[in-house]
Symmetry: C2
Subunit: 112 residues, 2 copies
């Protein structure tokens, strides 16, 4: 999610019609949850986040997507969930680059 | 969660100090996510829910807990997330019994 206020990653499995995590076949489910686990752990460590929020809601956008949100006690929604905080300020280019580098580093820690 | 407005299940792993899903060892993580998968699928089918919300937030209560919430287009928070809706009306005994029976049935579908 391209907002300055939160480091907020969405995992969107491609080429599937699933709307619920439990609709994925066991292999795909395990693969995606492994990805979630590595990204949560890696990004939390790299950003010194206070808490990770992981969620699959999809009430409004039905296509399956998984939220991973790095939370800090200083973020504008703390300690509430981030949904409903309509932050629209974009991160600057340096911040975008930093986030992308963190995501790539976390992805690289996953064994093939 | 003992509120009439939502069929809302919390999974709380016992005897662990984990605060994040990714802190669980791989075996426990897989076991718990299998539980989440079976409960989500079973309870959604049994209650004809419109959507399942699955989340690990823990910003205020740190002990690891996983929310599974069966959502309906007629529920009082729809389509927003349920957090922040401070519903306190308890379900009646029949409703509590019905929910417990559904949970037990969903648990029974998990292979040992």
């Amino acid at each position: 999610m391209n907002v300055a206020a939160f480091f907020w990653v969405l995992i969107i499995p491609r080429g599937m019609k699933a709307e619920e995590l439990h609709e994925l076949d066991e292999h795909t489910y395990t693969k995606i949850m492994t990805l979630v686990r590595h990204l949560s752990r890696g990004l939390k460590n790299m950003t010194s986040a206070y808490k990770v929020n992981v969620a699959t809601l999809g009430n409004q956008v039905r296509q399956l997507h998984i939220h991973i949100i790095l939370r800090h006690e200083q973020d504008p929604a703390w300690p509430k969930p981030v949904w409903g905080h309509h932050e629209t300020t974009l991160p600057n280019q340096d911040e975008t680059n930093r986030r992308m580098a963190y995501v790539n580093e976390a992805l690289a820690s996953i064994e093939p």
